[in-house]
């Protein structure tokens, strides 16, 4: 048989798959490996989806997404971040940020175009760039700077092929957020080198110290930024597959072309549930954030007691402790912790080379499980004798 596309070759087959499959098939594991809220969607939002189906909303919508939803998104962005997006032509409703990432790369990149990705990184960025024939260029960061890139770190990686920079703050996997000042410095760089910024702000509501800065709210950045956001994390709606992209007309129009031929539209029930989330979801969101915040502190304190160094994560729902003290690699640490203590964590090297020596622990799990997991990690460290 003829070979499948060479484009697939550099995409890691994910050797980690086997480990994950093992976790998935083992009962009674305490898993800190989750990448989504442990809450179910708030009932008032679920009810809006149910009602939509019962009332016969079971068809396609406008390719752009329901105008009602686009208007609500526009209002929310203006209200929260002071950014102004026209619901007619500057907002596209997608099946999650995931779809938006894919179609955005396809409309933005020509073969060989370079896109800068900050590592440790969310796992989808590099593959999406490659699927679109682009070249990911990695900027590694360090725990000593809370895994935040400096302008210099980024600048040395810019070439005349660089087209865009991906920013994802609050960050998966590190929990880092960027202060407004730090983002402003990056904005100047972006201007200087005429780059686009792909700003994945899916965790924007989940911040604990300091407010989220929307990248397109920075001076001159709106036309250069493609803002991606959604409802998966803020409203515990990962399974609804609903998100959106905002940007200048040219880009959003182009994304809409790909979207209309590949996805057609996001599920209508999910769009109507998202409307409810934007209209009345503030309180249920805040409740979840308060709860995450308590669990965050509980986990950080527990990791410290277990002897693992961890910078204080300020957003999303992940901690990214160093496991260097164990003397083990991230993969071996995760494997042994699972074998010996039935606690699942994600090895940090999955998120980029500079993630080696770290593991990702999600605190989107119950406080009881956090306490138990931390006790077991502590035992594990003690048994290692370090």
């Amino acid at each position: 048989m003829k070979p499948i596309s060479k484009r697939m070759e550099p995409i890691p087959a994910s050797g980690i798959r086997k480990f994950f499959d093992l976790i998935l098939s083992t009962p009674d594991v305490i898993s800190l490996g989750v990448g989504e809220p442990d809450f179910v969607t708030p009932p008032h939002i679920s009810d809006a989806g149910i009602k939509a189906i019962e009332e016969g909303y079971t068809s396609y919508t406008s390719n752009w997404g329901l105008i009602e939803l686009r208007e609500l998104i526009s209002e929310a962005l203006k209200h929260e971040y002071g950014v102004d997006y026209d619901p007619h032509g500057e907002i596209l409703v997608t099946s999650g940020v995931s779809e938006a990432l894919d179609i955005l790369m396809r409309v933005l990149l020509d073969p060989g175009d370079e896109v800068i990705v900050i590592e440790p990184t969310y796992v989808s960025y590099k593959p999406c760039i490659r699927f679109a024939y682009g070249e990911p260029v990695v900027v590694p960061t360090e725990s000593s700077n809370e895994f935040k890139p400096t302008v210099e770190d980024i600048e040395v990686k810019i070439t005349d092929k660089t087209k865009a920079l991906v920013l994802g703050y609050p960050n998966n996997p590190t929990g880092a957020i960027m202060a407004k000042k730090e983002l402003e410095a990056i904005a100047n760089l972006v201007n200087e080198y005429d780059l686009y910024v792909i700003s994945d702000e899916i965790y924007s509501k989940l911040t604990y110290n300091g407010k989220h800065t929307c990248f397109s709210s920075l001076n001159g950045m709106q036309e250069r930024t493609i803002l991606l956001n959604g409802f998966s994390k803020s409203h515990a709606m990962t399974g609804w597959r609903i998100g959106y992209a905002c940007g200048n007309r040219e880009i959003i129009e182009a994304m809409m072309k790909v979207h209309q031929y590949t996805m057609l539209c996001a599920p209508v029930q999910s769009q109507l549930a998202a409307c409810e989330a934007l209209r009345n979801g503030e309180e249920s969101c805040k409740k979840m954030v308060d709860e995450y915040n308590r669990r965050r502190r509980l986990m950080v304190a527990g990791l410290e007691e277990a002897g693992l160094e961890c910078f204080n994560p300020r957003g999303a729902f992940y901690t990214f402790p160093s496991i260097k003290k164990s003397g083990l690699s991230s993969t071996v640490f995760a494997q042994r912790l699972f074998d010996e203590k039935k606690v699942a964590v994600v090895p940090g090297n999955i998120f980029g080379e500079c993630g080696e020596g770290f593991v990702r622990c999600a605190y989107a799990v119950s406080p009881e499980d956090i306490v138990e997991a931390m006790n077991r990690i502590k035992e594990f460290m003690e048994e290692l004798g370090v």
Binding site: S31, E36, R294, L298, V346, V371
Partner: protein, 162 residues
């Protein structure tokens, strides 16, 4: 204020959360948390710590009944007097003054249906000011005090996702 609210919310969910865990969750010292809890107990913001028990699992059956009570104010005792009188019976789990077609909403727990019937006949209906009672026996409990008590599906979340 958020310190107080945080501590109360944690304790409302699980009254047995150890103080050091609470301290970690709210980012305060154990002493600060202990002092606050003591103060909240003294001020009766925290009324009491109680346990939700599934008595059926240890073969003790209880019958719950919701009793609607109408009160005749001309008897002079008033809502308050009747409510307090009813509240004193140990069989009575809760007493609320409510708006609408009746005045007091009372939950009674007894060992048998008959016990409930006797209790209503002998203890409640005999109060002068009680004009009328309607008794509803509880058939199945789904949620109590904010806690879902039926077996729930887990929702199929994956143990790992990136």
């Amino acid at each position: 204020m958020t310190f107080i609210m945080d501590v109360l919310e944690i304790l409302e969910k699980n009254a047995r959360t150890p103080t050091d865990e609470i301290a970690k969750m709210v980012g305060r010292s154990v002493e600060e948390v202990e002092d606050l809890i003591k103060q909240l107990e003294e001020e009766r913001v925290i009324h009491k710590y109680k346990t939700m028990i599934d008595w059926e699992k240890v073969d003790r059956e209880y019958v719950y009944a919701l009793i609607e009570i109408n009160i005749n104010l001309s008897e002079g005792e008033g809502y308050d007097g009747v409510a307090k009188r009813i509240a004193k019976f140990p069989e009575v789990r809760s007493v609320r003054l409510v708006s609408g077609a009746y005045d007091l909403s009372v939950v009674v727990r007894e060992k048998t249906l008959k016990d409930v019937a006797y209790f209503v006949a002998d203890r409640i209906a005999t109060i002068e000011a009680v004009q009328r009672t309607v008794t509803h026996f509880s058939l199945k409990m789904y949620k109590e005090d904010g806690e879902i008590v039926y077996q729930r599906d887990e929702g199929g979340r994956l143990a790992v996702s990136l």
